[in-house]
Symmetry: C2
Subunit: 398 residues, 2 copies
C-alpha cells in the first residue's frame, strides 16, 4: 500500500530537541535541556480545590461540548488582565487555545500561503518554526543584537506576512527588548505595513522589574498577541489564548473550530476557578522568587566553571541562559561528551531559521535545584575546558 | 492596517450549523439540532473520583508537559480495546488527539495538497469538511444508498488522496454499513489503491447488535482509524485518537507536535483512570439503553405526527434521525417557522459536499427526554403539515 503524502510533510521534521531529549533521558544525567517549568512551582493545592469545585458545581457543563471561542468568564478575565498591561481588548477578541502552540498553528493557517515570507528573530522559538512550517513559508531571519531584532532588519522584511517576535525573555536567548527597541520596531513595522505576531509566554516571569509595555499595546490594530497559562500555572492543562484585531477574529475562530472544536471545558473552568480570586497575584511572585534564585545559582556556576571566553548574559526573567562557547567549539559536536559527563543541554542550531551559529547552546535553569545546577554546570565546564585543551595550539590562541 | 489572509481562509466558512444553533438558542425552543450527548449520560461520579486520584497521586506529572504521542498507559488501553474489535495495532501506532476533530485536522495536513481529490460520503460529517477545507481539497461526493457509499462510486474515486468513511451510525444520516457493504468497499478501495480514513465516534452506541468489524480490521495497511472518548465518556474532556499504519506514524506525530505539543496530560490521566478498571463495560450499556429509549420515542413521534410522505428510517445506533421532507418542501426555508413553533433542527444541506438535497434534515434524539421529543416532533409535524397545505394543488398532488 502506497500513501501519497502532502507536500507540506516535507517541511515537517523530527524535532531536533525532541530527539536530543531522548539521548539525555539517561539515569545520572542532569538535564538543562528541557523547557519544563519546575513542578514545585505548580499550584497543586489550588488546582485540586478548583477542580473539586468545578466537578461539584458544574460537572455537566464542564464535561459537555462548549463554545469554540472559549469559556466566557475566562475570556473576560483574560481581557481584564491584558488591560492592566495596556492592551485594551474586548473579551470578544480573546480566543482560548489548546496551549499557545495551537495559537501559532492557527495564526499560520490564517496568514501564511506556501511561499509567503515570514520574518523571525535570529534565533527564534523552535516550536514556532515547527508550527508555521506546514504552511510552507519562506523564513526571513531578522538580524538581532542583545535587545532583539534590529529595526532596520524589520524594515527590510517589508512584504512578509508578519514578523514573529518574542519581546520578553525570549526562548531561546532569554533576551528582553527594551522600551526604546519596542518603539523602534513598531515604528519600523508601521512604516512598511508589516503585521506583528507577539508571543508572550514568559512576560510574567520577570525577576527585577516588569517588562516594558507589549507591542500589542503600542500597535493594537497591527498586532496579534499570544499568551499562555503554561508558565504561570501549569503546562499540562494546555491552555493559552490569542488576541487578534477584530477584523481577523471570525476567520481565526473558524480555524479554531476546524482544528479541535474547542479547548477542553473542564480545563478552562479549572483555570478560571484558580485565577478568578487573584491566585496569580499571590502565586506568580513565588515562582519569580524561585526562578530568580535558580538564575543566580546558574550565573554563579557559569562564572565559576566556564572559560572566560564563553559569552553569556544573565537573563532578567524567563527560563533560559544562552551561551556562546569559545571560538572553535561546536555545541552539537560537544553534546555527547557532555551527556557522558552527566549534563545535557540543547545546542542552539535548531533555533535558527537561517545560518546557525554552531557555538551557541541553551540552558534551562528552572527544572533543577540550585545545588544540581552547580553540579551540572561544573560538569559542563570540565567538558568545555577539556575540549578547548584538545584544540590545535594556533586555534587555541585565536 | 491591512492584513493579507492566506488563500485557504477563503475555504473557511462560518459553520451553518453554528449560526443556526444561535437562532435556536431561544427560550421555549426544544432543540433537536445539536449533536450534544445527554449530560445525564456523563459518568460524573467516576470522573470526580478519577480526577481526585490523579491529582492526589500524580499531580506533578499530570500538570507537566508530556509526550506528544499521548500518555503511555492510555495508548496501551486503546490498543488493547481495538484488538477486541479485530484491529491489531501496536500501542506505538496510537496517537492521542485533542478530540477526534483534531485527528481530522492532522490527517488533512498529512495527506491533502491544494487541489487533491478527497472522496466523502453523500452526505457526510460537516466537521470533517471543515477540518479538511483549510488544506484546499476538491471534494468528490460518493453516491450512496441506505448502507452508505456505493462500491462502484468508490472505484470511480481512484486517484483521490483518501475516502473518508463513517461506517457506524453516520453523522448525519444515522446509517450503518452492512458487513457485505464493508467488504465490497474495501475490495473496491484495494483494487484502485485508494486509502481509507475511517471515523468511528458512534460505534459503541449500538442498540440492537454490535456493528460489523471496522474497515481498519479488514485492511489495516490501507486505513487510518479515528476514535473518540466524547460519546462514551464526555466531550468536554476533548480526547480522541488516531491509529495509522506504522509508515505514517512519524509524520503524523510531527504534525501533532506542531499543532498543540500534546493533548492535556491531566485529561488523559483522568480518562485512563476512569477506563482502566472496565468502567466502559458497565457504563456504555446504560448509555445505549438510554439512547435506545429516546430513539424509540422519536420513532413513535415521527410515525404519529409526520406526513407519510416523509422519508426516514429508525437508526440502529448513534444519535441521529435523518428525514426527507415530502416533495416540494425545503428544510432550510422551513426552519424559521419551526423555531417559531418551538422546535429546532439542522437542515441537511450543509452536510453535502456536492449538490445538496434540500428536503433533508437531521434530528438528534439524545439531548431531550422522551416526553420532550414527543412535544418537539409534534410541533415539527404541525409545521410540515401546514407547509404542505399551503402548496399549490398540483404540487400537493405530486
Amino acid at each position: 500500500m502506497t500513501w501519497t503524502l502532502a507536500r507540506r510533510t516535507g517541511r515537517m521534521n523530527p524535532s531536533a530537541i525532541r530527539e536530543l531529549l531522548k539521548l539525555t533521558e539517561q539515569p545520572g544525567v542532569l538535564s538543562l535541556a528541557g523547557g519544563l517549568p519546575s513542578p514545585d512551582s505548580f499550584p497543586v493545592d489550588a488546582v485540586r480545590e478548583a477542580t473539586a469545585r468545578v466537578l461539584r458545581d458544574t460537572p455537566r457543563e464542564a464535561l459537555q461540548y462548549a463554545a469554540s471561542e472559549g469559556y466566557g468568564p475566562l475570556r473576560d478575565w483574560v481581557a481584564a488582565r491584558l488591560a492592566a498591561d495596556g492592551i485594551g481588548v474586548e473579551p470578544g477578541q480573546v480566543l482560548i487555545t489548546t496551549g499557545s502552540q495551537q495559537g501559532l498553528d492557527l495564526v499560520g493557517k490564517l496568514l501564511i500561503d506556501a511561499g509567503s515570507a515570514v520574518a523571525v528573530e535570529t534565533p527564534t522559538y523552535l516550536g514556532a518554526l515547527q508550527a508555521f512550517a506546514p504552511c510552507e513559508p519562506e523564513f526571513t531571519a531578522l538580524a538581532a543584537d542583545d535587545e532583539g531584532p534590529r529595526p532596520e532588519a524589520l524594515a527590510g522584511a517589508a512584504g512578509a506576512r508578519f514578523a514573529y517576535l518574542l519581546p520578553n525573555f525570549q526562548n531561546p536567548t532569554g533576551r528582553l527588548m527594551s522600551d526604546a527597541r519596542r518603539d523602534a520596531l513598531v515604528a519600523a513595522a508601521q512604516a512598511v505595513g508589516l503585521p506583528l505576531v507577539e508571543d508572550n509566554p514568559y512576560g510574567e516571569l520577570w525577576f527585577d522589574a516588569p517588562p516594558p509595555a507589549p507591542l500589542a499595546a503600542r500597535w493594537p490594530e497591527g498586532t496579534i498577541y499570544l499568551g499562555s497559562f503554561s508558565k504561570v500555572l501549569a503546562p499540562g492543562l494546555r491552555l493559552g489564548y490569542v488576541v487578534a484585531p477584530p477584523a481577523l477574529s471570525p476567520k481565526l475562530l473558524q480555524a479554531k473550530q476546524a482544528a479541535d472544536l474547542h479547548s477542553p471545558g473542564l480545563n478552562q473552568r479549572i483555570v478560571h476557578e484558580v485565577v478568578r480570586n487573584g491566585l496569580l497575584d499571590r502565586h506568580v511572585p513565588t515562582v519569580r522568587a524561585r526562578y530568580a534564585a535558580q538564575r543566580d545559582a546558574m550565573a554563579a556556576a557559569l562564572r565559576a566553571h566556564l572559560p572566560t571566553t564563553t559569552e553569556w548574559q544573565a537573563p532578567r526573567g524567563g527560563m533560559f541562559f544562552w551561551l556562546r562557547l569559545p571560538p572553535g567549539l561546536d555545541a552539537t559536536a560537544l553534546l555527547p561528551r557532555a551527556v557522558a559527563a552527566g549534563v545535557a543541554y540543547v545546542p542552539g542550531a535548531p533555533f535558527y531559521a537561517g545560518e546557525p551559529d554552531g557555538r551557541t547552546l541553551r540552558l534551562s535553569f528552572v527544572t533543577l535545584t540550585p545545588a544540581q545546577l552547580e553540579t551540572a554546570v561544573a560538569a559542563l565546564g570540565r567538558v568545555v575546558h577539556e575540549a578547548l585543551a584538545e584544540q590545535p595550539p594556533l586555534r587555541r590562541a585565536a
